[in-house]
């Protein structure tokens, strides 16, 4: 406990804490991209969302969970209820106990949480050379410049500079803090075959999966912005009228 406390005190920064690479400016700021969800009237691109879901399902889902998402949420990105039932049914989930007291597996239903690739964190680490593939449901909100960062990360793999030797199982990525990332380059050209015929370049897949993960982070975004426009228009009118009343009431005082 002493050690924990000592570490905490150090972390407070009362002593000068060691600067992380991110703060020291060694990690470049991800280049700004244009996203359909930018701005006051931004929306998610439905085609891109569904392609992004395909990329997640066929590539990312091998290691990364999507804990906050239930299959039923997928109707929000344009799948019909029947499609969602089919998607869910592709997965087996554990349920129970039944009336014999036994746990059993059954095909997932829309009301089930998206199935996790690993049962728990140690299992995930054991399968990934000690690294933990983070949950992706909130990853866009959990990073500075989330969408740009994610896109830059997935397209930012390079060979290491001559003076850098990577430990076994590590990869070099310009945009990852510290530049050493355990995740191998996840996207390969034509790694997925898009149902709508879009060419699956690395850049295209990175954009699509970023779109999808932006939705998983903020599924309320479109409703929120649409309501915001109405609320602010209403408030502008109301405040304008209040100002007129205020002027009238105060006319005699001034």
């Amino acid at each position: 406990m002493r050690r924990v406390l000592a570490a905490i005190v150090a972390a407070i920064g009362l002593a000068s804490a060691a600067a992380p690479a991110w703060a020291a400016g060694e990690t470049p700021k991800p280049p700004a991209q244009r996203w359909s969800f930018d701005g006051l009237f931004g929306t998610f691109d439905r085609g891109s969302l569904q392609r992004g879901f395909q990329v997640y399902k066929e590539v990312c889902a091998a290691c990364h969970a999507l804990n906050q998402i239930y299959y039923r949420h997928l109707t929000q990105i344009g799948f019909t209820e029947d499609q969602v039932k089919q998607i869910a049914a592709e997965y087996e989930v554990t349920d129970g106990p039944n009336d014999q007291g036994e746990m059993f597996t059954r095909p997932a239903r829309p009301s089930d949480r998206a199935r996790r690739p690993f049962a728990n964190e140690p299992a995930a680490r054991a399968a990934n050379n000690g690294a933990y593939p983070v949950d992706l449901s909130l990853v866009v909100k959990a990073r500075f410049n989330g969408p740009d960062y994610l896109y830059a990360l997935m397209t930012g793999y390079t060979d290491p500079p001559a003076n850098v030797t990577l430990p076994d199982g590590m990869n070099y990525n310009t945009y990852f803090p510290g530049q050493q990332i355990a995740m191998a380059p996840p996207l390969q050209p034509d790694g997925v075959t898009y149902a709508d015929g879009t060419r699956a370049t690395v850049g295209q897949m990175a954009r699509d999966v970023t779109m999808f993960l932006s939705w998983t982070s903020e599924p309320e975004m479109e409703t929120r912005k649409r309501m915001g426009v109405k609320v602010i228009l209403f408030l502008l009118v109301l405040t304008g009228m209040l100002y007129a009343v205020k002027r009238k009431v105060w006319a005699a005082v001034h």
Binding site: A142, F144, K225, T239, V245, W250
Partner: protein
């Protein structure tokens, strides 16, 4: 069919037994208010309205929130995703905290500029400082509840401050935590207190308003009202002005709630709390940054280690506000008539902003130096400059009455009025 006569009779019947209607008539309707209040006086009532908004949204959130380390984070996400308009309620509450501090800081600096803390409003001011302290405690504990990385590590840092207390520090920290680290008991008690404290704030706000209504509002000129010609009834004049101000403020906050809801937040708080992984930067919410800078600015002083000294300085920076009415020796309230204090006010405001900027950055390199200078100046302002300036400064002539400068054509400058230092002792 109730005729107006019936309503009148019922209200008379009630008022005769419980004079609540007379009370409201007095305090919200006739309540004589200086006629020259400017828009900086809107922020008091705004703060009260935000307090109500925070309590209402908070009560709804508490219906869906689970204060357990295993479920807190997910229960907040469930509010965001599955509760009807849960995202709206949570974003209003979350941004409401920032809005509350914006409004209250403006309210405080208005008081500093116009000398609202001076006699006979010292207790009014001190109650305000109590409210500020309660708000800070409430906001801090509320920030812990979503149990993200910043929640956990912020809680760890701030509660560890108490371990700086000599001799019993560690025991006190263990007692606060309810264990040997920030954990489920900590989260539980923070939730309980976070729910309790707003109602304590309401109580102190009531006292604050009672104290206010005893002598009435200060005003931009800083002299007392002389009679009916100087004041107007609160309703309709200030009710309509406050409503207009509220409209402007709601547009401002709706901009954040609907279009940049995480503007004031830290991305790290969308990562579930992990006691084994310290985030690269532990940063408090923006409204604590100046105090955080003061905490980290102080070096070891003789036998007092930097941590204890920093904690003392940080709490001292707020405690000093309690004695402000006696540190400022000038009899003139409003900075309008205090040429030197007026400049000191703006320098002090800039100093607080610099402290906030330092608090947002890692304590390295020139930030350390700037932080120390700004911290020293913060205390210099209160402990040295204010007492001295009050004695040395020659205030400009104060108008003889409120009506005078309010009149069109402005009678402010041409009144010799024999520079009375203050209206009444």
């Amino acid at each position: 069919m109730a005729s107006p006569g019936v309503v009148q009779r019922v209200s008379d019947w009630i008022d005769h037994r419980l004079p609540i209607i007379t009370f409201m008539q007095h305090e919200l309707h006739e309540y004589p208010t200086p006629k020259n209040l400017n828009y900086w006086w809107n922020f008091g009532s705004l703060a009260g309205i935000i307090l109500v908004i925070m309590i209402v949204t908070g009560i709804v959130l508490a219906m869906h929130y689970t204060p357990h380390t295993n479920y807190a984070f997910d229960s907040v996400e469930r509010i965001m995703r599955d509760v009807n308009y849960g995202w709206l309620i949570r974003y209003v509450h979350m941004n409401g905290a920032s809005m509350f501090f914006i409004v209250v800081y403006i309210h405080i600096f208005r008081g500093l500029y116009y000398g609202s803390y001076k006699s006979p409003r010292e207790l009014l001011w001190m109650l305000g400082v109590v409210i500020l302290l309660l708000m800070m405690a409430t906001a801090f504990m509320g920030y812990v509840l979503p149990w993200g990385q910043m929640s956990f590590w912020g809680a760890t840092v701030i509660t560890s401050l108490f371990s700086a207390i000599p001799l019993v520090g560690d025991q006190i920290t263990t007692w606060l935590w309810g264990g040997f680290s920030v954990d489920n008991p900590t989260l539980n008690r923070f939730f309980s207190l976070h729910y309790l404290m707003p109602f304590v704030i309401v109580g102190v706000v009531v006292l604050h308003v009672v104290a206010l209504h005893t002598h009435g509002s200060n005003n931009p000129v800083g002299i007392d009202t002389k009679g009916p010609q100087d004041s107007i009834p609160f309703h309709p004049y200030y009710t309509v002005k406050d409503f207009f101000g509220l409209g402007v403020f709601l547009i401002f906050s709706a901009g954040f709630v609907f279009f940049a809801p995480n503007f004031f937040g830290e991305p790290d708080n969308y990562i579930p709390a992990n006691p084994l992984q310290t985030p690269p930067h532990i940063v408090p919410e923006w409204y604590f940054l100046p105090f955080y800078a003061i905490l980290r600015a102080v070096p070891d002083i003789w036998f007092i280690d930097a941590k204890l000294a920093g904690v003392v300085a940080m709490f001292g920076s707020i405690a000093i506000l309690f004695i402000l009415p006696w540190l400022d020796t000038s009899k003139v309230r409003s900075a309008r008539y205090r040429p030197i204090y007026k400049q000191l006010f703006w320098i002090f405001l800039a100093d607080c902003i610099v402290l906030g900027w330092v608090g947002a950055n890692p304590p390295e390199g020139y930030f350390v130096v700037i932080g120390r200078i700004a911290t020293a100046y913060y205390f210099l302002h209160f402990l040295v400059l204010l007492p001295l300036v009050g004695k040395l400064e020659r205030p400009r002539p104060v108008p003889t009455s409120i009506s005078e400068p309010v009149l069109k054509g402005g009678g402010v400058r041409a009144q010799p009025a024999a520079a009375k230092p203050m209206e009444k002792a």
